[in-house]
């Protein structure tokens, strides 16, 4: 099949999938950081923080991802002038778009991460927190040493779901010109409509290869690391 060899040589499909992986991993790290902070805010005893956390989750979770990503480029960059790369660099456009896409993906998925972690917090019996308070730990230490370690172990399965969704959602980054897998697929379809379904099949298989092991890994981890009660 010449179209398969074209995928590797002419269109550099592997590089495209590498970009997809970078987008996914970087966004996953930032989403985990932001999401943890938001989850802590939602379970904190301070009313203002609760409201902010809840508002973040409800607003961001209900905004279409395409809008979030397009806003990062047309709104943040074009209108407000927020550039995330060196403007004089000769790879400015690519770097800037990539980082804006990571920003958008992180902010969006952080709301789902926060809800996954909060569901993990809910698996921790109330007695644990009460016992921690009883031995004199303040709120943050209770979280850090007692509640969150158990919460993360309880939240592994839903976090895996978020990671798989994030992998597939990274294709939206193509609307602002990040050359990840789906952008290369569009180019191949434009040039080779005669083998449309093979092109589509290659990229579908690529995404299955990326997401299936993640699903298997997270399922087995959630079983192995589950808190025995």
């Amino acid at each position: 099949m010449d179209v398969i060899s074209e995928f590797f040589s002419e269109y550099d499909g592997l590089q495209a999938f590498r970009t997809t992986i970078y987008l996914t991993l970087l966004s996953a790290v930032f989403a985990l950081l932001i999401g943890t902070v938001v989850a802590v805010m939602r379970v904190s005893p301070v009313r203002v923080l609760q409201v902010i956390g809840t508002a973040y989750v409800n607003i961001v979770r209900n905004t279409p991802l395409t809008l979030v990503i397009v806003f990062c480029n047309l709104g943040l960059f074009l209108q407000l002038g927020v550039a995330l790369a060196n403007k004089d660099s000769n790879t400015f456009i690519n770097d800037n778009n990539f980082r804006l896409a990571v920003l958008g993906l992180s902010v969006y998925h952080a709301s789902f991460v926060a809800e996954a972690i909060r569901s993990g917090v809910n698996t921790v019996p109330l007695g644990q927190a009460e016992a921690a308070r009883a031995i004199g730990l303040p709120f943050l230490k209770t979280l850090r040493y007692v509640v969150l370690p158990q919460a993360f172990r309880g939240a592994i399965a839903p976090l895996g779901n978020v990671l798989i969704a994030l992998t597939k959602n990274s294709t939206v980054a193509s609307v602002i010109g990040v050359t990840e897998a789906s952008a290369v697929m569009k180019v191949m379809i434009e040039n080779r409509p005669d083998v449309l379904f093979i092109v589509f099949g290659i990229f579908a298989i690529g995404f299955v290869i990326l997401t299936l092991p993640v699903g298997v890994l997270f399922t087995s981890m959630s079983k192995r690391l589950a808190v025995k009660r």
Binding site: V70, F92, I176, P193, L196
Partner: protein, 279 residues
């Protein structure tokens, strides 16, 4: 309680009459319009070529499509336009969801594997759109500049490979985002077919802000996409196109849709004098 039941019954009754009214409407609608129907694929988002504004369709592709459909014996009110995004054009034809496609559809060998083409009805070329005060005079002047096009189109990549090695490419999913970025000064030029560029340059909101450079560096022959092997329709479409050119209707359609932009097409191939053989 009783009042509630009455209210509920009333609402149900209203809803039912609404449904009946709708049913009547569509019934008489399809009854009164006789004749065969045809669905034609066009672009919905290219000013001057194919544009949907509310329930109205305008543009060169639309006018040519309407003329050809009439010549093929379809009444104007029996024409249904359907959006044909670039990536779906071959599939729409293969499935029979549209009979013909007039959507700035360049004739290429790879596409001929999947569909048949009638035409060409217009010959465009790749060009650049820049700000009115820009000093870019052609694709060679783009080194170190920023160039925009849409994801999946090869036009920007062609410029990078052939003319300006150090140009930076910005890709969006739509041309209108490129125009937005060009207006904001984030990019220096937008590249695609000169017909599409002219359409954007002459849009009400963009008047006077941009200019088409006018140095084309490719040949794009717009054909009428047909189901693979449909030579009967192909011959009829070519006859209709020839009639449109000979009668002066082609020129009228061009003047109306693309004339105001000041677009100059290659006079040797426009209006089209010869058409490809139907195969």
């Amino acid at each position: 309680m009783r009042q509630r039941i009455i209210a509920a019954l009333g609402i149900a009754g209203l809803a039912a009459t609404g449904l009946v009214a709708c049913g009547d409407d569509s019934g008489s609608g399809s009854g009164s319009s006789g004749g065969e129907k045809v669905t034609i694929g066009i672009k919905y988002d290219q000013p001057g070529i194919g544009l949907k504004e509310g329930s109205k369709y305008t543009g060169m592709d639309v006018d040519v499509a309407t003329y050809v459909a009439k010549e093929l014996g379809y009444d104007e009110k029996n024409i249904t336009f359907k959006e044909a995004p670039s990536a779906q054009r071959e599939t729409l034809l293969a499935n029979g969801q549209v009979k013909m496609i007039f959507a700035s559809y360049s004739i290429t060998d790879a596409r001929k594997e999947k569909v048949s083409f009638a035409g060409p009805y217009l010959t465009a070329g790749q060009d650049l759109l820049v700000k009115s005060d820009s000093d870019i005079s052609g694709p060679d002047g783009l080194n170190g500049k920023k160039l925009c096009s849409v994801t999946g189109s090869t036009s920007a990549q062609k410029v990078k490979d052939k003319f300006a090695k150090t140009v930076q490419l910005q890709e969006y999913d739509t041309y209108s985002k490129c125009v937005e970025a060009l207006g904001a000064g984030a990019i220096d030029a937008l590249t695609t077919d000169n017909t599409i560029l002219a359409g954007y340059a002459s849009q009400e909101a963009n008047k006077g802000k941009f200019k088409v450079v006018g140095q084309t560096f490719s040949t794009e022959r717009y054909g009428v996409g047909l189901k693979k092997g449909d030579t009967a329709t192909c011959t009829k479409v070519n006859d209709a196109l020839k009639k449109m050119v000979d009668s002066g209707e082609w020129q009228k359609a061009f003047d109306k849709n693309l004339g105001p932009s000041g677009l100059k097409l290659d006079a040797a191939t426009n209006p089209p004098k010869t058409f490809d053989a139907c195969a």
